[in-house]
């Protein structure tokens, strides 16, 4: 089983991770100015509005940058591994790991979000998500852990 450090959670991160556990990815959307932001927080950074809703994202984006860790920083996560940042179609930057070969990566390449399962340092399972190249064969197939929700927006059409 994939071991990972558990996420840091503010009050607003809880809802974010609840959606992730359900195989989705939602971000806060401002009811006043239509802004979408990440990470979660108490107010809209654009207008300081305190009224917002959680909205699903399309789960697609474009690659901005990537790095490969050759030094092991977390005992449960041996190097090497590669981490990418992509800009979602909604304009928000999200950072995750990827299973893609870094030699195949290039700026602006289309990427999609996929969910996967991990356990934290206490042995508690949790769901994570990551960017993969849009042409990755597994895209569009139901992952083994897929909760099968009918309104999944991360892997559209997988069921």
């Amino acid at each position: 089983m994939t071991m990972r450090p558990a996420p840091r959670r503010s009050l607003f991160d809880d809802t974010f991770w609840w959606h992730v556990a359900d195989g989705q990815l939602h971000l806060q959307h401002c009811s006043q100015c239509d802004n979408t932001w990440y990470p979660p927080g108490p107010a809209c950074p654009q207008c300081a509005g305190e009224t917002w809703t959680w909205q699903p994202v399309a789960g697609t984006g474009a690659l901005l940058s990537w790095v490969t860790f050759h030094k092991t920083y977390f005992p449960t996560m041996p190097a090497p591994y590669t981490v990418v940042t992509c800009r979602t179609d909604e304009g928000v930057l999200l950072l995750t790991d990827t299973t893609a070969d870094p030699a195949t990566l290039h700026i602006d390449m289309p990427m999609v979000l996929q969910h996967y399962q991990a356990v934290d340092d206490t042995g508690t399972p949790f769901t994570l998500y990551r960017w993969e190249p849009a042409d990755t064969p597994s895209v569009g197939r139901a992952p083994a852990h897929c909760p099968g929700t009918t309104h999944c927006r991360v892997n559209p059409g997988c069921r």
Binding site: R4, P5, A6, P7, R8, W37, Y38, P39, P45, L64, S65, W66, V67, T68, F69, H70, K71, Y73, F74, M77, Y81, V83, T85, V92, L93, L94, L95, T96, D97, P102, H106, I107, A118, L128, R130
Partner: protein, 388 residues
């Protein structure tokens, strides 16, 4: 804009290579406060002042304000605390307001002997910068990784060779070899740089700072105080100061990855240059906050020494080296002297302006610039001789 000028009238630091060796043996000679005391005594001696002359105190993180003042036995009429960028701003403002006449700016750090970690579980400063710890579930940690992510995009967009960063490390090592107080003084070649292990690719070992113990103190006084103590001739004035901070979408790293913090670089530089009445061509040498080599090309491009499209050529020409067009980090900087979180760079500016930098003295160092960029919080100042 007219302000009552504040002058740096004394500097002190500690023996970086000596304390490095002791730390490596596991026998550090003192703690963070002890390094600060050593630097404080040396700064007073440098200025020919006594403790009783000090009436204001700025305490640099990670030192705690009260304990620092207690250890040094200082009851003060003005005090503040923060990082090396905040220090000079606060001191200049306090002097201008008449809140203090002679301020000690004090830094001490036992990060090496105390085992301070900058990545992995318990990474430092995560309570202040959420991006340092927020992405742990994906294994993303360490300030080096944040700069590696920036550099990957920058080098791809501007088609830069790995030798550009290598030249930064090599040039700074050349400076360090002329500085008896630098930790790393062995010759470093570009081939050795390229052959070194990756830490977080595209950054290698020699792109990273040297985490070390040490202390730094600067004494900042009013012009009147300096005159009364005959310190004006050796006084160093901040002729211009600029600051601009980028915070919007900082955790998602949008200003880092989409702008390379250049908007902040330009805003801060414009204010500092305008106030000083100089421009990049007037700068004899520059000290750039360099936790990682990446800071140097990004800052130089942001400040206007070159464009993003020709910064690689500028650096590859040897401009940063001793005797080059723009000697950069002439003490060796964080990469080769010691990681004193910007404080050591300020001391080097003062020594260069005074003409007291020994073998590494830059010719005609009338104006020397300092620039720091800590997660998009940009500070820069133009230092030069005091106006009589």
């Amino acid at each position: 804009m007219t302000t009552a000028p504040a002058l740096i009238v004394g500097v002190g630091d500690t023996d970086y290579p000596h304390d490095w060796a002791l730390c490596r043996q596991g026998s550090a000679r003192t703690d963070a406060y002890g390094y600060a005391v050593t630097a404080f005594n040396r700064a007073l001696a440098d200025a020919g002042l006594t403790k009783q002359d000090v009436d204001g105190l700025f305490v640099g993180t990670p030192l705690a304000y009260e304990r620092t003042a207690e250890v040094l036995g200082l009851d003060m009429r003005w005090a503040s605390s923060g990082d090396s960028a905040q220090a000079l701003q606060d001191a200049v403002a306090a002097i201008a307001m008449g809140w203090a006449d002679c301020i000690a700016l004090i830094y001490g750090n036992d990060q090496r002997s105390a085992g301070t970690t900058y990545g992995g579980p318990g990474a430092s400063y995560g309570d202040q910068f959420l991006s340092y710890v927020y992405y742990e579930p994906w294994g993303f940690t360490s300030q080096g990784a944040l700069y590696a992510l920036l550099w990957q995009r920058y080098k791809q967009l501007y088609d830069l060779d790995d030798r550009v960063l290598g030249e930064v490390a090599v040039a700074q090592r050349m400076h360090a070899r002329l500085n008896p107080n630098a930790v790393m003084r062995a010759e470093l070649t570009i081939d050795e740089y390229l052959a070194a292990k990756w830490i977080v690719e595209p950054l290698r070992l020699f792109d990273y700072t040297i985490v070390n113990d040490g202390g730094v103190v600067l004494l900042v006084s009013s012009a009147d105080f300096a005159r009364s103590k005959q310190l004006t001739a050796r006084g160093v004035q901040m002729h211009g100061i600029g600051r601009y901070d980028l915070n919007v979408a900082a955790t998602s790293m949008a200003p880092r990855l989409l702008d390379f913090y250049h908007n902040a670089h330009r805003q801060a530089a414009t204010r500092a240059y305008d106030q000083a009445g100089v421009g990049p061509l007037d700068i004899a040498a520059i000290q750039i906050y360099d936790s990682f080599s990446v800071h140097v090309p990004i800052m130089l491009a942001g400040l206007g020494f070159a464009d993003d499209t020709d910064i690689g050529e500028f650096i590859s020409s040897g401009a940063l080296r001793p005797g080059g067009r723009l000697p950069t980090n002439s003490s060796g900087g964080h990469l080769s002297e010691s990681y004193m979180q910007g404080w050591g760079h300020l001391v080097e500016c003062v020594r260069q302006v005074r003409g007291e930098a020994g073998d590494r003295q830059v010719n005609d160092a009338r104006f020397v610039q300092y620039a720091s960029d800590i997660a998009g919080k940009v500070f820069t100042t133009i230092l030069g001789p005091a106006k009589e």
